[in-house]
Every structure is written in structure tokens, then in C-alpha cells.
């Protein structure tokens, strides 16, 4: 842990896992969606469901979906702010089998775009996305991250990594997931440096690539 993960973060209480981490999950979700959702269904699991209310986990998740950071003093009022901004929120509980104790499943929509996201709060405000749209995809959002959906066929990984190498982008970590053979696959790539927009657009136009989502969060 770096020095400011020990002395910090600056955050709205009461819990780094149940509050600060929950804000971060909401924030990552709205970034992946491309903006504030019009509709959000939050399903809390495990300890999030058991003690979430007293920890303000619901308010924290909504605050994140509204684009707030973990130290935003408006977090306690997020229900009210969501209502004012016209974001419809549904709250519920779910039992996510085998999931981390502090987990949540989010279903979101913004205009005609939909996204579902399962994520866990690991403690100290750190989080991990576990699945996107029902497909496994694990990343923390701590480094610039590319989530690429592509057809599951030979050569896709090579093409993407060659393109990144050509543009001098060093891949820090790379993970591959797929629903079933020959179906849709997901590549999750993490980088030490930001990935330029031009390069992301080039990747999006490669044959066989269905979508390229990029996540780059500023550290607090």
C-alpha cells in the first residue's frame, strides 16, 4: 500500500469498505455506462445487504452513479439529489453465490444504453469489478483499463496486442474471458499510462471487435 493509502483516503464516513468503496463502485459504473444513468437498480449482497443501511451503502452507490467522489460531502443527500436530477432508483437485496461478502449487482440504463455490473468492495476503499453484463471481467480501476469485447476467433489477441505494441503502449496485465467457444469474448487490459483516444478508436475499427470501453480514474 502506498503512503497515502495508509494516511487516507479523505472520505465521507463511516466505512472505507461499505461507504468509500461503494461510492467508487458507483463511479466506475457510471463511467462505463458513459454518464449518469436514468434508471438504476441496486441489488446488495452479503454484508452490504446486512449492514448497508447503517453504513449508507445505498447512498454511497447512488452518489457514485451521480459522479461523486468518495470525499463528496453531498453523499448523505444522494437519494434526494438523484430524485431531483430524474434518476430513478430501485433498491433490493440479492444472494450472489460465491461472491465477496461486500458485493453489489447493478443494472443501469441511460437512454438506449444498458449495463449490468457486479462488483465487490475489498476494504480500504479499494474495489474490484467482477462481471460486466453477466460476463466475468475482473479489474480494479486503479490503472487505466481497456475492456474490449470481441468475436471469439483465432488471432484477435494477437491483433490487439500488436496494435498496442506498435503505438508503444506497454500492457501491464491482460486477462481473457468468454461466455462459450465461438461466442463473445472479453479482454481486460491494464496499463501504466493513459491510452490515447486515437488508439482506442483505431482498436474499435479492427474487424471482429464489438466494443472498446475505456476506464481512467483520477487517484485521490
Amino acid at each position: 500500500m502506498n503512503l497515502f493509502e495508509i494516511m487516507g483516503p479523505i472520505m465521507v464516513g463511516p466505512s472505507s469498505s461499505h461507504t468509500a468503496g461503494a461510492v467508487r463502485i458507483g463511479f466506475i459504473a457510471q463511467r462505463l455506462l458513459g454518464g449518469r444513468p436514468d434508471w438504476a437498480q441496486l441489488q446488495l449482497s452479503g454484508s452490504f445487504a446486512a449492514t448497508g443501511k447503517g453504513h449508507g451503502t445505498d447512498r454511497a452507490l447512488i452518489a457514485g452513479l451521480l459522479g461523486m467522489a468518495p470525499d463528496d460531502v453531498r453523499i448523505p443527500m444522494s437519494h434526494h439529489i438523484a430524485a431531483k436530477e430524474g434518476m430513478e432508483v430501485e433498491l433490493g437485496h440479492i444472494e450472489l453465490r460465491g461472491a465477496h461478502p461486500n458485493s453489489v449487482l447493478l443494472h443501469l440504463s441511460r437512454a438506449d444504453k444498458r449495463l449490468s455490473l457486479q462488483a465487490a468492495s475489498l476494504g480500504g476503499g479499494r474495489v474490484r469489478v467482477e462481471a460486466i453484463d453477466g460476463m466475468e471481467a475482473r479489474f480494479s480501476g486503479e490503472s487505466p483499463t481497456l475492456i474490449i469485447r470481441n468475436e471469439d476467433r483465432p488471432g484477435m489477441v494477437g491483433e490487439v496486442s500488436a496494435m498496442l505494441g506498435y503505438h508503444n503502449m506497454n500492457i501491464a496485465t491482460m486477462q481473457l474471458y468468454r461466455a462459450h467457444r465461438g461466442g463473445l469474448a472479453v479482454m481486460v487490459l491494464e496499463f501504466d499510462a493513459p491510452v490515447p483516444l486515437m488508439l482506442r478508436q483505431t482498436l474499435e475499427h479492427l474487424p471482429g471487435i464489438c466494443s472498446v470501453t475505456y476506464l481512467e480514474l483520477e487517484g485521490t
Binding site: F4, I10, V12, S16
Partner: protein, 279 residues
Amino acid sequence: MAFSSIEALLTAAKDMPLWEAILRSDLEDRGVEQADSIEKMTLRWQAMVAAVEGYDACERSASGLVGGDGGRMDAAPRHYVDSYGQQVIATALKTGECNACMKRIVAAPTAGASGVLPAVLIPLRGRHSDEELIRALYVAAGFGQVIATRASISGAEGGCQAEIGSASGMAAAALTDLQGGSPQQCADACAMALQNLLGLVCDPVGGLVEVPCVQRNVVGAVNAIAAAEMALAGIGTVIPCDEVIDTMRAVGDALPSSLRETGEGGLAATPTARRLVLS
């Protein structure tokens, strides 16, 4: 790189002040300029002060279990402690209550233990410059980093000793350094503070960061002051700081899960706590 032992930290501090050795390791670790690091620490210091200054004794947590104690402590006559001691207790309560009431605080090292460092440092503002107190935060963070690496700063992993205990060890080192104690004395202070709280369980009523968390911040602060006074008096520890930290990890591993933030054991399992959770 972050220090993996207190011994390595003391070695690095042979040719420079402790806080500077820790600052340098941060610059190397994160690849940033000195101004960036100092600014970040200054913001944390300012946020600690702002939380205490913005304290409202009328506020209550969502559950209604905590709130108002910082104000009560401020208003009460003193019986045993001096003015500093009273402010330490009040500041620990205020920060803990701010946290429980969803106000902005600084996790140091966690939200549940966020009151310990502000409690011992903020009442020193008249005696020490902000610059000196920010340097003390570096010392605290450096010790905390070793604790996090070798043991844990998570109540779910290591019990309350990992949260209030760690914060107390960090604060003891910071207080010792602030009065000109040697790096070895800082390590002794940290070791004493940690060993005094070994085995402290995490047993929050209703699973909330309220009872007994808020008041345990007071114990962390008072224990840190006692440990710093002892270290500055030349009292050392038999067991070296690194071994005490390793012990904290071993004790944390041996704690049953009911005493590690599950809200199932300790005070959380009392008839009163169960009744409060149901109501």
C-alpha cells in the same frame, strides 16, 4: 519503495530525519515530485482539522447510537487530565462521531480509527507549526506502512488491534518524533503502543462503525501518549517493534471470525446489542 521493516526504516533514517526518509520513499514509490507529496499530506492535515472544526454536537448517526459525546467532553469540568488531555479525548470522540455521521474524515489508517491521529496532533497546534505536525503525519504513515505490510490494518482481517492498535502505534511514533525523540525511540513507542492493544477484538454493535469504535479512538490516543512519554523517558521494549508487528498478525490470524468485524461476537453479541439491532 515502501519499507518492509521498522529496522529498514531506521537504517534509512541514519543520515536524515525520519520524516524525510519516509517522504523520499514515497517519491520513489509513486514516481512524483516532493511538492506533490507534501501537498497531498497537507490536504489530509487540513481535512482532519476541518472535520473537528465542523463538528456539530447535535448530530446523531443514522442508527442514533452515537453523537454528541465530543460536545459533552468539551463542556465538562476536568478531574484528572490537563487541558491537552481533555482536548485529546474530545477530538477523538468528535472525529469518530463525524465519521459515524457520514461527514468527511481522513482514514488514518482506517475510517473506524480516524480519530486517533487528529486527537493527539490537533490539540498541539498552538505549540507546533502546521509544518511540524505534517512531518509528524509522515512519520505516522511510514510506521503504518510497515504495519500494513507485515500485519494488517483491517478489522475484518486482524480485529480492532489492526485498526485502533495500528493507529495508536503510528501516533506514538509521531508524538515521539515531534519532541525530538530518536528514530529508535519512535520505534520503541510504536512497539509499546501496539503491544498494549494486542488482541483487541473488532465487535461492532449491529456491524456499524459506532459502538464501541468511537470511544476506542480515545483509548488509541491516550495509549499513544503514554507510549510516547515512556519512550521519551528512555524506556525501551524487550520485544523489537518488527516482532511486535509480526505478533499482531499472528494474534489476528488466531482470532475467531466472530471477533473480526462480523458483528457476531464480543459486545455485538450482548443481549443489549441484540435488542438494539432488532429494534
